[in-house]
């Protein structure tokens, strides 16, 4: 095969693959936002059939030959094609190294575990889920050994989710933030929390929908490129830079919930909308990594959205829409209420300050599980012990404890750290953006577009062309450094709580 022919085959395979992924992505968006409840049976069958077809498109000797030839000539390829090959090889590394029967068996175990987890969570019955978790941990370890026999198995998985961030980096990262944040959290716990009762009045969904439209407008998101769907657990999905979908959930007794989920998901959408045009139709469309994607959503949600400047910008509109509910409330009251920090049980509902402690707990447990230093039977006890130690809270049951997240039931170990890294990236990016932009002044003036332009130029346009470590270096002129995150949280919450 000639190099030129191999490139053509790669691009054609990518074109076909992107059509399948697009269709399957729309089906997923649909089942989460629009489909009737009983659609799930037909949905699962169709997704299984299409997954099998896309699997075969990737996992076949011809494709391997194309990729191997292109890898061997990597330095003759343009940057995008080279990264496409690299990502395709990375995606296939595991599949090419494990016996197919074990892969099929793992999928069966995963799907069973996922369904048992749903039931076990409802019943708060950890022993019901435990044997499934045990098998998943075994497979996770075994697969890492197939794919990268020379590597520590947890490092292998961490690197799969956030390239370059293995335990040597993360141990230091978490030690540092733990040392700084645990005492800060304890000090704040002694203070009187700000009043936030007005956020819990009755806010009809149809009015909240109008607030979402307003927030999207403030963020400068072109609605012809981005729709809002409604679902139980908000997420964002994008099919190309002109077709993004964010989702939210309207709780009529919790105004801030959907408000900040819209800004968060709007951040994810903004990232993909800002991908360079070169990435149209390329599998490199999207974000550099889970952590980098999360850095952008959390940047808009917390760093911008929960800033005093942003609250001052949008509060008049909120007051206009809900005059009775906001009677006697000032922008400053609102600012304090949406920044109320409090150790709690549920990660997805945690505030900006305590969030990374939830992640740290999961990191420590995963690490021990994969290294065989913690038996799956002992997960609840360890979980509860760590929540007490780091957050000072007592876990009343496993439903609100170690059964709360779906990740492990889906066989994902090593994913959690990226959530925390996202916040840390954001703080470092902020520090460097501040050298060039007066962010507060821009936000107060409603000129978020200028902030987005900066992010587009330094982060968004690259899609997956650059890896996260490289992107931080490009954007900030230095390596990743968690000190920015610690300083950001310490300054913000010390001021808020008058420490």
């Amino acid at each position: 095969m000639e190099l030129k022919e191999a490139i053509a085959k790669l691009k054609e395979n990518q074109r076909i693959r992107s059509a399948y992924y697009h269709a399957m992505g729309v089906m997923y968006y649909d089942i989460e936002t629009a489909a009737p409840k009983n659609a799930i049976g037909g949905f699962s069958e169709t997704m299984a059939t299409l997954s099998e077809i896309t699997y075969k498109l990737a996992v076949n000797e011809e494709n391997f030959a194309v990729l191997d030839l292109l890898s061997a000539h990597a330095d003759e390829l343009d940057e995008i094609t080279r990264r496409e090959v690299e990502e395709a090889q990375k995606g296939l590394k595991l599949l090419r190294s494990i016996p197919i029967e074990e892969y099929v068996e793992f999928q069966r175990i995963q799907s069973e575990a996922s369904s048992v987890w749903h039931e076990a969570k409802v019943k708060s019955d950890y022993p019901m889920f435990e044997p499934h978790l045990r098998k998943l941990v075994e497979y996770t370890r075994k697969f890492a050994a197939y794919a990268a026999p020379e590597q520590d198995p947890y490092d292998y998985w961490l690197n799969e989710f956030e390239e370059g961030f293995t335990q040597d980096v993360l141990d230091g990262y978490f030690e540092k933030i733990k040392a700084a944040l645990v005492p800060l959290i304890h000090r704040i716990g002694e203070k009187q929390p700000p009043e936030d009762g007005f956020l819990k009045k009755h806010y009809p969904a149809w009015k909240q929908r109008k607030l979402s439209d307003y927030l999207m407008e403030v963020m400068g998101i072109n609605r012809d490129d981005c729709a809002i769907g409604e679902t139980e657990h908000p997420f964002t999905t994008g099919f190309n830079k002109h077709d993004l979908r964010i989702t939210t959930h309207y709780y009529e007794d919790a105004l801030a919930s959907s408000m900040y989920s819209v800004i968060h998901e709007g951040g994810h959408a903004t990232y993909e909308m800002g991908n360079s045009d070169e990435l149209i139709g390329s599998p490199l469309f999207g974000g550099a990594s889970c952590g980098m994607h999360e850095s952008q959503s959390r940047f808009y949600e917390n760093i911008i959205g929960r800033s005093r400047a942003f609250v001052e910008l949008v509060f008049p509109k909120i007051k206009e829409m809900f005059p009775e509910e906001m009677e006697g409330v000032t922008a400053e009251d609102f600012y304090k209420a949406v920044n109320r920090a409090e150790p709690s049980l549920i990660r997805t509902e945690a505030d900006e300050l305590t969030y990374s402690m939830h992640v740290l707990i999961r990191y420590e447990i995963e690490k021990k599980l994969i290294h065989g230093e913690l038996d799956t039977k002992d997960v609840p006890a360890e979980w509860n012990r760590l929540y007490k130690e780091y957050l000072g809270v007592d876990v009343p049951n496993d439903k609100e404890g170690c059964l709360q997240d779906s990740h492990w039931s889906g066989g994902s170990f090593g994913y959690f750290p990226s959530y925390s890294l996202g916040s840390a990236y954001g703080a470092q990016i902020l520090a460097h953006m501040k050298k060039e932009l007066d962010i507060d002044a821009l936000v107060r003036a409603g000129e978020l577009g200028k902030v987005t332009d900066w992010l587009r130029e330094h982060i968004h346009k690259y899609g997956m062309i650059k890896k996260p470590k490289e992107l931080i270096r490009l954007c900030c002129g230095e390596d990743f450094d968690p000190q920015y995150y610690i300083d950001y949280l310490t300054d913000k919450f010390s001021e808020l709580y008058g420490l």
Copy 2:
């Protein structure tokens, strides 16, 4: 190939095909109801790629061999498999007979015509569209000659859409209804129309959404099997009997519009939800024909939904939801208002009485076009002449005249009659249902479920197993007879207008 092997191949091909159709169906639903405006580019590319793949799945020598072998052994197959083979052969008849280059060329012409038609309609510029229509007519004639050289070309296409209903049946049908309805329409035109101003007050969309939920409940539609989406031009789509999607459009100054579109689309959904379980995963899932599908939607919309009994059932709820707007309005006023009959310009907005005249006009024009008896240049003049003659209205421009429907621009000739046949089937079905059920009493008591049970047993459960002619015979014990339709309309509107 053994018969058993051929059956297995057929079923496997159907399984794969249904996964693609499901995914493409969801993408279509999504683009019409949820996607942002600029999603259309990516949507079109993905649909083109997937269409090409499904085309190749069907149009290949191996599949032809499977189908030909099964056709040759048709009497050894069970009824469902036999009909599956028959439908597959019917679907491939044209594709197997035309040169592939002409098929590709036709698709190009069709897509161009469709896009020009959109623009021409907005500009009300028929001459802009005319050359495209000319080509489409030529291809329609040519393709019929390839597929069925022995048959009249218009008969070929009519039979494609509504099997068994060729010109010999339809000429008689339309002559009969024209003779009865044109004088009736003229007599009603001389009467004072009922007051319907209260339907045009302000009805907020969020309240109309609640009314839709109520109407679905009254119809006995399980919402876990059926979602409601919102779109410009309402339609229904179904992926399996537990996943139906109806759509509607809320006009805030036209209460009856969305109300009756929900009932109409709910009728389509009810049909597919009532398919027998044997049809799960079969391409025979759905309705016997376009006309039969339309018969069910119009049965619920007009025969049930616009009956006095139904209005009396739902009016208290409407009054409760809109007390100010319905001040001084009685159920009888509402009944008369939603049955206001008036010759008009737009088919899709026509009332129950005049609807078939719109169809008749299109039938006469299509027939002449395909037979070369009318030049495409003369369509507007002929259109306007017939609207004057049958409906007594003057057509002010082509946008509201011969450019109003999309069908011809998509290359569909022979489709329109099924709309009218649907109404006629419904009236005949009603007459036979009445022998067994006291429909008015059931509807007044809110027991629409009994009506649906009857239809499921006589129509819905068969899906596409039976053809429309056969189904009428099975259901009514006699051949199709338009007299029922004439009698139904004459009785209903004579009473309403005091003739």
